[in-house]
């Protein structure tokens, strides 16, 4: 039986009004992780950046690992959502907002990390080009200035890309609520009425934004890769870094999206909307990205090994069979060995299977970022300058706080805005009878009778 428009709205607005103890427990845990990070940051500001484990020759480590990791995670949302919108993929409808929210939050967290790394973080605005008495303008030849401009563009675009489809849903919430919520949603809906003219303009705008945001997303992670590739450090100065980073970003981003969807499905009781077929489709995408990641990793290592340059081989062997070998092989296991069977074998590509694969991939991709950065810095060209790096409690706490902040922002957002776009879902339901029968399974309906192992369960009664 199909859900009516009224039922869909009731289901999707329910999490905004009803909150269980589990929600507040999760908020408390996430908030305490963030508070721990705030404490570590204050400690660092008071005592100086020396409280981090950085020292010559390793001047970047956990912080830049977290930066690259979070920028990578941010590729899940806007990029995937934009591609699916342009392809007019019907199954995207319940997924897009969960994904777009990940982008905005992950990008914000990623952008905070380099600011923490500044010796005097309160002067971060010096990166902004504006006429001032200092006569110091950004050096646009520096990849760090490219980062600033690219991330600002992507964050602006992604925030607007997330916000625009929220406007009609806020209008619905405005008309269906009372009290302070009505005032809040009146403000957020910008006075949206729902006239055909407004719908047309919104859809056209979303279409243009989708076209514009895809190249921006690709450029952002390419530019992040150029932070390394523009430097003559062993195993960094490589043309493969741009696409390698983009693939890695989409890979980790899709994994994060699957995890977020699984948590939303469970805790917001959205199992009638986030169905096995959505995890199945994303699982296939994850499989493709896993294979691409293996291809790039192998190509990069093979080229280095074949070249046999002494300085590069020092980094190569340190990660393959010396001090970083345990991390390297854990990364391979997490990013390929474990996920591959779960994603390649149809019977295993269930919700549970994709969640297991995604969990290992998120961990594996964090390790990958670390292995790109630290072994190269520890083994620069002249062996007398080699050194080692160990993270301190401050860096570890800041890393944990990043995960806490992501969870906290996502939890608060889910309390404020429906996590599935109501109007897009309803439009999909209305259009569904016109599409082939096998796509009808995408329409939301009660979960009873749909086994998790039946990702393509079809309503044959139609």
């Amino acid at each position: 039986m199909e859900k009516t428009s009224e039922q869909i709205r009731a289901d999707l607005l329910r999490p905004l009004f009803s909150t269980g103890p589990g929600y507040w427990t999760a908020v408390a845990i996430a908030a305490s992780m963030v508070l721990a990070g705030v404490f570590a940051f204050c400690y660092q500001v008071y005592n100086g950046i020396g409280v981090w484990g950085l020292n010559s020759p390793v001047f970047w480590a956990f912080d830049i690992t977290n930066f690259v990791f979070w920028i990578g995670i941010s590729h899940a949302g806007t990029l995937i959502s934009a591609i699916l919108r342009l392809c007019n993929a019907g199954w995207r409808r319940p997924v897009t907002r969960c994904a777009e929210a990940i982008t905005v939050f992950a990008l914000s967290i990623g952008a905070i990390v380099p600011i923490c790394h500044l010796g005097r973080p309160w002067l971060f605005y010096w990166m902004v080009p504006y006429p001032s008495e200092r006569h110091i303008w950004p050096n646009f030849r520096s990849p760090l200035a490219w980062d600033f401009i690219a991330i600002s563009t992507y964050l602006t675009g992604s925030t607007l890309f997330l916000f625009l489809p929220i406007i009609p849903d806020c209008a619905a919430a405005r008309d269906l609520t009372r009290g302070w919520r009505r005032k809040l949603y009146s403000l957020l809906s910008l006075g949206w009425q729902g006239t055909p003219r407004q719908w047309h303009r919104l859809e056209t705008a979303m279409h243009i934004m989708a076209i514009a945001i895809i190249p921006v997303a690709v450029s952002v992670h390419t530019i992040v890769s150029w932070d390394f590739a523009m430097t003559p450090v062993p195993m960094w100065h490589s043309t493969i870094f741009g696409p390698y980073f983009v693939v890695g970003a989409i890979f980790s981003g899709v994994a994060a999206l699957i995890l977020a969807m699984a948590l939303l499905r469970k805790f917001l009781r959205l199992d009638e909307y986030l169905q096995p077929i959505h995890f199945d489709h994303l699982g296939k995408l994850l499989l493709t990205m896993s294979l691409l990641w293996v291809y790039f990793t192998f190509a990069e290592r093979l080229t280095t090994w074949y070249g046999n340059d002494p300085s590069e081989m020092a980094v190569f062997w340190s990660s393959i069979r010396q001090q970083f070998a345990p991390l390297f092989w854990t990364m391979v296991v997490c990013n390929f060995i474990i996920p591959f069977p779960f994603l390649a074998i149809k019977k295993l590509r269930t919700i549970t299977g994709t969640v297991i694969a995604s969990t290992t991939i998120v961990a594996g991709m964090w390790i990958e970022r670390f292995l790109i950065i630290v072994p190269s810095l520890e083994h620069k060209y002249l062996p007398y300058s080699w050194g080692t790096y160990r993270p301190t409690w401050v860096e570890i706490t800041l890393m944990v706080a990043g995960f806490g902040m992501m969870a906290l922002l996502y939890l608060l957002f889910s309390k404020l805005v429906p996590m599935i776009s109501m109007w897009e879902l309803e439009a999909g339901v209305r259009k569904a009878p016109a599409v082939p029968r096998h796509v009808v399974s995408l329409k939301p309906r009660p979960a009873t009778g749909i086994a998790e192992s039946e990702p393509f369960a079809t309503d044959l009664s139609r």
């Binding site: 563009t153 675009g157 008309d175 055909p196 003219r197 705008a205 243009i208 450029s219």
Partner: protein, 172 residues
């Protein structure tokens, strides 16, 4: 806002109502802009919706994108010429690296232009009174006339009912 409107469950019925109102508009003394349709989702393929399909948004986005690119070019060139740094024989204004800034600001210009055009063309933000009904968010389609002439009300109500509305509502 004074208005007379009806709610329809079926978009075909809403289409009939819009057609009837437009046909009778001249004789009833109402203008096309007084006929309002409000929906909870976009209805592609219906005349009441598709008549607004044409928009210069793509053109404007392209223009603002080019404008953004020009700002990027100016910003990088002006900065590098005004505050020259030692470059070891490399160009003071390097086109390769500046292209990255130009590219990003082109895309930012296109995005900003799109959003501003949307807000202007969709009449947002608009916090004044507008015709709506909570039933719209339960899947109904609202078709109505704002500021209807008093003497035309019975005729308007008849048209709205004939199209399939079970109830006609009025706002004071």
């Amino acid at each position: 806002m004074r208005a007379l409107y009806a709610l329809y469950s079926d978009p075909d019925a809403a289409q009939r109502a819009v057609n009837a109102l437009k046909t009778a508009a001249g004789s009833l003394g109402i203008a096309d802009r007084q006929i309002v349709v409000v929906t909870a989702e976009p209805f592609d393929g219906y005349d009441f919706s598709d008549e607004h399909a044409e928009s210069p948004m793509f053109l404007i986005a392209s223009f603002t994108g080019i404008l953004g690119g020009l700002v990027g070019y100016w910003l990088t060139r002006f900065t590098q010429v005004s505050y020259p740094l030692p470059t070891g024989g490399m160009p003071i204004v390097p086109p390769w690296t500046n292209a990255i800034i130009v590219y990003e600001l082109t895309m930012l210009g296109a995005i900003a232009g799109t959003v501003i055009t949307l807000l202007v063309m969709a009449g947002l933000p608009q916090f004044g009174e507008s015709l709506s009904d909570p039933e719209v968010w339960h899947g109904k389609i609202l078709v109505g006339v704002t500021e209807p002439p008093e003497k035309a009300r019975p005729e308007l109500e008849k048209h709205l009912r004939q199209a399939g509305a079970s109830e006609v509502k009025a706002t004071a």
